[in-house]
Each structure stands twice: as structure tokens, then as C-alpha cells.
Amino acid sequence: MLEVSLRHDFGSFALDAAFTAPAGVTALFGASGSGKTTVVNTVAGLMRPDAGRVVAQGEVLLNTAAGICLPPNRRRIGYVFQDARLFPHLDVRANLLFGARFAPRGATGPAFDRVVEMLGIGALLERRPGALSGGEKARVAIGRALLSKPRLLLMDEPLAALDAPRRAEILPFVERLRDAGLPILYVSHSVAEVARLADTLVVLGEGRILASGRAEDVLADPALAAQFGAQEAGALLRARVLGTDADGLTRLQTATGTVWVSQPAPVGAELRIRIHASDVILAREAPQGLSALNILPGRVEKIETDSGQRAWVQLRMGDEAILARLTQRSVTALGLAPGVPCHAILKSVAVARDDLAETHK
């Protein structure tokens, strides 16, 4: 559990934010310049705000009102920087082991061999950082932070400097860390990464907290869709793989009904599926003779319109919600309003490889 509150005046820009991060992955989402890095640097102790308070697992790391500000080396917070920041004069092994000797006796963390194996960096141990690719550097940086036996891991856009294939290579490692139970504060401006990793989502905009809560709830909030972007906005569904049909489609069980997707997944796996709002069609009646396979019934919960012709509709289905992007004309034509029953229609092929992520919880 991490509690953060801080206020800092940069002159041209003022940051005033407070949030709580429970166990699991808390994603800090926001555009560049929204103050994300200031927040993580405050948590790490690399920056001292005008006023602030940081409490990690019951220990006060910063309390400006009481004059408490622990230096970074006494906070036991692992920090994976966007630019890796490996020590150029040390080989990979020495980089990895750098923090281990400073960890207090009794601190727990994964063993060297396990981290090396998990990150697949066994062949790099004798190399210098100068001879590593971007993806290799990112993995070594994650390993180095882990081996300092931190109580919390900060990751400041660890994938932003990497191309798509490298990103796809690193993401599973972050998922494994999450599933191993290490609390992570993950900074990103990528909705795809956030949707895949976050348990809790904190949205930061122009120095203020715009929303904070369960990732499913925040991503399905129509009032925030503009923050995530017209193409990227979309809700999360949790699902379990029931099996693969004869035609190759994967059958999933969600809280609201069966969903078929074209991506293969192992039977019994727990998945989170990201449903892009722009891929969802709404219908007042259960449609007949439609090619789309997935038709989920629900009830309109909230509608947000923007200054153009766009409307964002949140459909509630028990504990889950789906977000749909429509035109304002369609909202009027269908008579959509909060409480109106409705069906969400999604094409199986609309769920892309990236939108499916396995969770091990």
C-alpha cells in the first residue's frame, strides 16, 4: 500500500496530486508534461516537492509538514528508468549486483539466478552496457532494480524508448513481476500498456488527478474517454478460456455471457480483454441475422458527448462495463439514456493480439 500526496509549484505549472496505490500494479497515466515523472521522483526521493507526504507500507518516507525526507538510498524503492541508466564502467553482472550489497539484512527478494533466468539475460552477464541493445538494457535495468530487494518498484515508461517488437518482449516480464506480488507503480502514456498491466489506474492531467480507481472502472468511464483518445479508449473485460471450437475460434466465459475471439489461448487461462470503444455497436433489440458473434446485453449507465458529433456510452453489465463510441445522432435515434436496456455487439476479429493478456490470478 502506497499513499502519495504532493504539491509543487514549477512557476509555469503547478502539480497538486494525491492518490493511494493498493497492492498490484498501479498505472499512472497521463500525457507528456502532466507531471507523472515528478510524482515518481517524489516517491523515489529524487525530488523534494514544496509540500508532500509519501507513506509506503506504513513507513513515512516523506512528510514535509513534519520535516521528514528520507534520502533515496534509505527508501528501498526500486526505480526502472526510461533510459535504463546502467553503469557504463561495470559489466552486466556487476550492474545487476550493485544494489544487493546495500539491501538491509532480512530484506526479501528473488535470487540472482532466478532473476537472470526470468529476464533471459544469462548470456549477457560478462558484457558491458555499451554493447547491449535497447531491449537488453531495459531487461538488465529491471533485474538491477529487483535485486536491490525493493519493497516497491517504480517503472517510468520503461518501454517508451523501445520499438514494438522489443516492447512485446518486455511486457511479459512486467506481467510476471505483477503476478509474483511485487507492488509496482507503472508510469505510461500508452493505453495499451495500461490496459494490459494495471490493477489500479490513476489518470493525471495538467498536474491534477482526473480519476483514480480500479482499472476496469476508470477505462470504462465515458467522461475520461477523451483523455485516452478516440482510437485508444475502451473497456476491459475479464474472462476465462472455456475451449477452442472446431472452427478455431476461442470460447471465453465473461460475467455477462460467452464471447468468441479469433486469438488462440490455453484452456482455463484467465484473460483480460480490451474492447476498443470504436469496435462496439449498440442495438436496442437483440439483433437477428447478424454476422457479429458476440452480443452482450446490458443497461446504459452514462453518456458523455463532446463538442463535436461524438458520444461515449457506458453499458453496465453487472460488475463489468463496456464503452462504446457512437455519433450523437445515433444516441438520439436509438433514444439512449441512462437506464435504457441495450445490447453491445462486437466482432470477434476486432480483438487483436495486443488486446488479450493472460493474468495468473
Binding site: G45, P72, P88, F98, G99, R128
Partner: protein
């Protein structure tokens, strides 16, 4: 030492000892001052900076005169050091070493300061988040990264110390075997009739020592730099 007369050998050994002691004792002080100048954020730093550079711009004779005033047997610092530690500078080789250290100090600090300013402070931040205290960060990250600059500074100061003349002769005079370093011995030989051959030989020794020092430092700096770059 074949081929060297006893006088030549004495002057050479004295010069090496004076320069070596001057560099080794001023190294930690120079590193600390370079650190403060590179990283300090105090308003009075320009004064320290000016003070450090003074021996570079003052006539060496003036520097020697100030040393005489301060560190002579009747000078305030000299008298105190003699009473408290029995340390005497006046007309001793230790005084020659002090003069050499002071004259080489600005060169040493400049080289080290440039090296410190080239270190990416974000690497030091990373080390601190991994649990390293400020001292540990300096020892395990900063120092290895600035090592080429430290070596360059030490070599510059050594070369300056080997060639120092004005401050030395003003402060501790020209006593054979005690304060008569190579440059002073060359000067003395040139003052006496029929000693120009000796002066020439001493000058040649100076050149050989200087070239040797530069080559050695180049070699060390290259090896260190290659290690640090991570090739």
C-alpha cells in the same frame, strides 16, 4: 644510474621526490576542491575558484614571496606547523614540494573539474535508488567515471612540479641536495663558466622525464577510458 654524475643524480632524485610528494599530497585536496567547484551551489564559490587559479596568473615569484610570508619560520602558518607538528618548510625540500604543489594545483583542479562535470548525475541518482549512500555513490560510480580526468590532472601537476622554478627559488632558495631541483640546477650551471655541458645534460634529463610521464599517463588514461566506456 649509469652515466649520471652524483650532482646530476642528486638533482634528478630530488626533483622526482619533490614532484611526487607534491602531487600525492595535493591529490585528495584537489579532488575535494574540484568536487565542490563542479557540484557546489553556494554563492561564494567564485571566490574559491579565483583563489585556486591565483598561482596560474600571478608571477611565480609573487607566489613564492607569499609562501615565504605565510610558511616561513616566522610566518603565521609556518610557525604554527613547526610548533604543532615539527613540520618545517623554509629552506627544506618539503618547502620545494609545497611550492610545486601550489603551482600545480590549478592545473590539477581544472582537469578534475572538467571530468566531474562530464559525469551524468542521473547515473548517481540511479545508484542512490539502489541503496548507495552518498559516499558509496562517489566511490563506486563517480570516482571510476572521473578516473581518466584525475590521472590527467595528476600528470599535469607532476609536469608542472618538475619544471617549477620561480616560486621555489623565492621560497626555499637554491640549496644543492635540499632545494636544488632540476630547473634550479640548470639555472645554476648556466651561471657558472664552463658548465654549459652540464646544463645541456640536465636539460636532456628533464626532457626524457617529461616525455616519459606524458606517455605513461596516456597509456593509463587509455586503459581506464576503455574500461569505463564499456567496450
Amino acid at each position: 644510474m649509469t652515466g649520471l654524475t652524483p650532482e646530476e643524480a642528486t638533482a634528478l632524485m630530488l626533483s622526482l621526490r619533490v614532484a611526487g610528494v607534491a602531487v600525492l599530497t595535493s591529490l585528495p585536496v584537489g579532488l575535494a576542491v574540484a568536487m565542490v567547484l563542479a557540484r557546489g551551489r553556494w554563492p561564494g564559490l567564485w571566490l574559491l575558484n579565483a583563489l585556486v587559479h591565483l598561482p596560474l596568473i600571478l608571477p611565480p615569484v609573487v607566489t613564492g614571496y607569499f609562501l615565504l610570508l605565510a610558511f616561513g619560520r616566522k610566518g603565521p602558518v609556518g610557525a604554527f606547523l613547526e610548533q604543532a607538528f615539527g613540520l618545517v618548510f623554509a629552506f627544506r625540500w618539503t618547502g620545494a614540494a609545497l611550492a610545486a604543489a601550489v603551482m600545480g594545483f590549478p592545473l590539477m583542479v581544472r582537469a578534475m573539474r572538467l571530468a566531474i562535470e562530464a559525469v551524468d548525475p542521473r547515473l548517481e541518482e540511479a545508484a542512490s535508488t539502489l541503496g548507495a549512500s552518498r559516499l558509496a555513490v562517489f566511490r563506486s560510480v563517480t570516482l571510476p567515471l572521473i578516473l581518466p580526468g584525475v590521472i590527467a590532472g595528476a600528470v599535469l601537476a607532476f609536469a608542472k612540479a618538475m619544471g617549477e622554478f620561480g616560486a621555489t627559488i623565492t621560497f626555499v632558495s637554491n640549496i644543492p641536495g635540499q632545494t636544488q631541483t632540476l630547473p634550479l640546477a640548470i639555472y645554476t650551471a648556466l651561471q657558472l663558466p664552463g658548465q654549459s655541458a652540464l646544463a645541456g645534460r640536465l636539460a636532456l634529463i628533464s626532457v626524457i622525464v617529461a616525455i616519459g610521464a606524458v606517455l605513461l599517463s596516456e597509456f593509463i588514461a587509455r586503459r581506464v577510458a576503455a574500461r569505463i566506456r564499456g567496450a
